[in-house]
């Protein structure tokens, strides 16, 4: 008899709490971006494919489905940290095979360009302008440094050049200043 009472009491308690929780879940539902959107917002959008996925959004989807968060070299450490925060997992170092590179942009050696438009087709962000049989050039401000145009170029006239430092972008690295020694 006591056993039955206990069972009934606990069971009804469980039901009541279940109902309250269920109601709360509906009533206080938080409208938020779907996870994929949030991840996509964190990724650097270079669309470089270095993660092994064809673009940032596919990688975002992969992360949402449980892939590692440390496959994005352009984003580097900062991106991994943000992703770790969002996903509630530990931040890992960048995948061993991939190293965080200095920021680079594509540069077309214009005297060698034959105007084949292959790089234009490869560029994921339309940062190369030019027309068939005419010289092409890169919009430096729009280039994400994804490397994707280097491969298709039939005459190997595209180089990835590191972005030159400017006083505005300088990061106060005092030790890197070359000091002139005067005898």
């Amino acid at each position: 008899m006591t056993l039955l009472t206990a069972l009934i009491a606990l069971g009804s308690l469980a039901l009541i709490f279940g109902a309250v929780l269920g109601y709360a879940a509906i009533r206080f539902k938080v409208e938020s971006d779907p996870l994929v959107e949030q991840i996509d917002d964190i990724l650097p959008q270079t669309q470089c494919g270095q993660c092994g996925y064809p673009g940032c959004r596919p990688y975002a989807e992969a992360i949402a489905n449980g892939d590692d968060i440390n496959k994005c070299p352009p984003g580097g450490e900062a991106t991994i940290r943000k992703l770790a925060d969002l996903m509630g997992v530990d931040a890992k170092p960048l995948d061993a095979a991939q190293t965080e590179a200095v920021k680079r942009v594509a540069y077309i050696r214009e005297d060698e360009c034959i105007g084949c438009t292959k790089c234009i087709q490869a560029c994921p962000v339309d940062a190369i302008v030019g027309a068939s049989k005419l010289m092409h050039t890169v919009l430096v401000d729009e280039c994400t440094g994804c490397d994707l145009c280097v491969e298709p170029c039939p005459v190997d006239c595209i180089d990835m050049v590191p972005l030159s430092a400017t006083p505005e972008r300088w990061k106060w690295d005092l030790t890197a200043i070359p000091v002139k020694v005067v005898e």
Binding site: L43, Q45, T46, V125, T144, P154, V155, D156, K180
Partner: protein
């Protein structure tokens, strides 16, 4: 309760939080008159000396310029021109170490003075009768930017449209050592007041507040005497405390108002100008003398004559120091700016610019170099000293942890980098340096986030466009197909050519299928190979470039050399690639041989031909690599290193292909002949025929190989 204006008129001075009292050390320079420096041998004039963008260059090396002649032209509101400080010859326009903490090179004009001091024609203005636009244009064209240190374009600050209650003239000069503004006021108070008159005409303020620190009694008296005819010009002495010369701090001292975060002083009806700027405005408007020189305090114990110097903009720091009797120590620091906010110079050829108020060459006893950084003991002396009421010890913690969210929460952006916190820190932590690094990092992250957003938008727009184009193409193809079908139905005849086309298409599809899913490792290997080729090509190019230099008689024309190089490149590449090409590709190599040969006739054609050749070879390589296992790649790699071997291999490959082709032709000589016949009639058809032949050859070769 008296109104704010009444309080200000009654002479009330408020206070700001924090602040420090470093020893002022101004006596060594403030008691002497301003010295005028002789013309230096060279003037280095950076094209950008303010916050904003450089103007458009107006001169070129070799040009003779007159004193006051603009060297750049302001083509937008954020640009401020620079002028020739004296007459002379433009020697060069080159990157030169900038007067910036980073010491990164910036575009600088090198002027060699001719010693004649010839002026360009001048047109002084009567400011009472000129309209505001004329005055503002004159200010911009005279190259005036804030001379207190920030270098904000003055015409923007003076041309605000909001109503202005108070114009504050900043003559506080709170940094130790510096007495440039002090001397300017002592010697040119009346001109400064004329400059203030012009600013008043532009801004129409209720009152002008001139803030002077109480350790400059002579300057304050001079200003008071010069202002005595103008009743709404109020000279206010403020207690000596660093950083009372900070814009926000001085506003709080004189008006008890705070600039809301993220806003500008003009939003609360206040405009602040440096006293040196007022002087420059008077000179520009009344004498048509653009900003060519400024007073610079040259101080420090390693100088035998520390003093204020009237230096032309562009004067190298070394010249200035030598003029003052510089005897450097072994590990000398030379600081541009004051000891609290100035930066150490890496190179003494850095010039004096519009914002340079002080050059400091201290001895090691005077300003000891910092010793080892100790751990923070959270004594919060820094928080007590912070004029912005921040919590520097927390900011330090989060800066080290790179926690940008927390840094934002603790308002790192409100840090004015005055250095008061690091000044009082008993553990000698370079707090400001940590904040600067963190700020730069945050700025970079913001820039990157913005860029990512743009990239995403562009990527999506591109995808949408591609999708649209694909659809359009599909629609058009459908229409065309329908039309053709109708035509065919009408004619009732089947076409052998269409058949062949279909077959080619199928084959191409096969090929692309093979290349579509290449292994990552294979791609990387290929990239590696390509890099190798690129290196080789670079070497060849270099060789081609040196050749004409060595034999000018035979190869005088560099264009011819380039053509030769292109041919050589194409051949080398072909040789290298053909090793790994399979039999099927040999027709391609065969065809580009004549192309390469013919290239000698026309350089442009040659380049195109070479490119085509390379492209073909590459495609061949790609298909080959995509299908073959790794060992072959390695052989290909080794073969590239030895051109002789490669050539032999290529020859072998070609022979094989020929044999295969021979086999291919024997079973069906009739169709081939027909195709050849057709070829004569129509080049297009000929191409198709060739393709068919090739496809057959390949099939044959495949069956043979297997």
């Amino acid at each position: 309760m008296p109104s704010l204006f009444q309080q200000i008129q009654a002479g009330v001075i408020w206070d700001f939080h924090g602040g420090v009292h470093p020893p002022p050390r101004k006596q060594q320079t403030s008691q002497k008159p301003v010295a005028v420096m002789p013309l230096p041998d060279r003037l280095y004039i950076p094209l950008r000396q303010h916050i904003g963008v450089a103007g458009q260059l107006l001169v070129k090396p070799g040009d003779q310029v007159l004193k006051g002649q603009p060297l750049t032209a302001a083509d937008n509101s954020m640009a401020v021109p620079v002028h020739a400080p004296t007459s002379g010859i433009v020697r060069a326009i080159m990157p030169h170490t900038s007067p910036h903490p980073s010491a990164l090179p910036e575009l600088t004009l090198l002027l060699e003075p001719d010693g004649l001091e010839q002026w360009r024609p001048r047109e002084p203005l009567n400011f009472a009768t000129s309209d505001k636009m004329t005055l503002l244009n004159r200010i911009q064209d005279s190259g005036i930017a804030g001379m207190g240190g920030a270098g904000f374009p003055t015409h923007l600050k003076s041309g605000v449209t909001q109503p202005v209650d108070y114009l504050i003239i900043n003559a506080v000069e709170c940094e130790p050592y510096i007495s440039a503004d002090d001397l300017l006021m002592q010697e040119a108070a009346t001109t400064i007041v004329k400059g203030i008159d012009i600013l008043c005409r532009l801004l129409n303020p209720k009152a002008v507040l001139i803030g002077i620190e109480d350790d400059k009694p002579i300057a304050a008296a001079a200003m008071m005497a010069a202002c005595n005819q103008r009743e709404n010009y109020l000279v206010r002495t403020v207690p000596t405390k660093y950083p009372s010369g900070g814009e926000k701090q001085l506003i709080q001292l004189l008006t008890n108002k705070e600039v809301p975060n993220g806003r500008r002083p003009v939003d609360i009806g206040i405009v602040m100008q440096n006293v040196g700027t007022a002087f420059a405005i008077a000179q520009a408007v009344l004498d048509d003398q653009p900003l060519l020189s400024r007073i610079v305090t040259v101080a420090g114990d390693t100088l035998s004559q520390p003093q204020n110097v009237l230096a032309l903009l562009g004067t190298p720091v070394s010249a200035l120091l030598d003029f003052c009797g510089f005897q450097p120590e072994s590990s000398q620091r030379v600081i541009m700016g004051g000891p609290m906010m100035g930066f150490a110079l890496a190179d003494l050829s850095v010039p004096v610019v519009k914002t340079t108020n002080c050059i400091l060459a201290p001895s090691a006893q005077e300003l000891p170099a910092d010793t080892k950084e100790m751990p923070c003991i959270r004594c919060s002396s820094c928080a007590d000293a912070c004029p912005a009421s921040l919590l520097p010890q927390q900011l330090l913690w989060y800066s080290k942890a790179k926690d940008t969210n927390k840094l934002a929460e603790y308002n790192l952006a409100d840090c004015i980098e005055c250095g008061a916190c690091a000044y009082v820190c008993p553990s000698e932590i370079p707090l400001v340096q940590y904040y600067r690094v963190a700020k730069a990092e945050i700025r970079e992250q913001q820039r990157e986030a913005l860029k990512a957003e743009q990239a995403k938008a562009r990527f999506e727009a591109r995808n949408a466009r591609l999708e649209r184009e694909k659809q359009q193409r599909a629609e058009r193809n459908q229409q065309l197909a329908a039309a053709r079908q109708q035509q065919q139905l009408a004619s009732g005849a089947s076409d052998a050519v269409a058949d062949a086309l279909a077959r080619i298409k199928a084959r191409q599809a096969q090929q692309t299928d093979g290349a579509a899913g290449p292994d990552k490792a294979v791609i990387q290997a290929e990239r590696e190979q390509k890099k190798q080729q690129a290196r080789e090509y670079q070497q060849q190019k270099a060789a081609a470039n040196t050749e004409p230099a060595a034999q000018p008689a035979s190869d005088a024309d560099s264009k011819a050399a380039a053509v030769a190089a292109a041919v050589a490149r194409a051949k080398a590449k072909k040789a290298a690639d053909s090793v790994k090409t399979d039999d099927a590709i040999s027709p391609a190599t065969a065809t580009d041989k004549p192309a390469a040969d013919s290239s000698t006739t026309d350089p442009r054609q040659a380049a195109i031909a070479a490119a085509i050749a390379r492209a073909k070879a590459k495609k061949a390589g790609a298909t080959e690599v995509a299908t073959s296992p790794a060992p072959e790649i390695s052989t290909a790699d080794t073969s590239t290193t030895d051109p002789r071997k490669a050539a032999v291999a290529a020859a072998l490959a070609r022979a094989k292909a020929k044999k295969a082709a021979g086999h291919a032709t024997s079973p069906e000589p009739a169709t081939d002949a027909a195709a050849a016949e057709q070829a004569i009639e129509d080049p297009r058809k000929a191409a198709i025929a060739a393709a068919i032949a090739r496809a057959k050859a390949k099939k044959q070769a495949d069956s043979e190989n297997s």
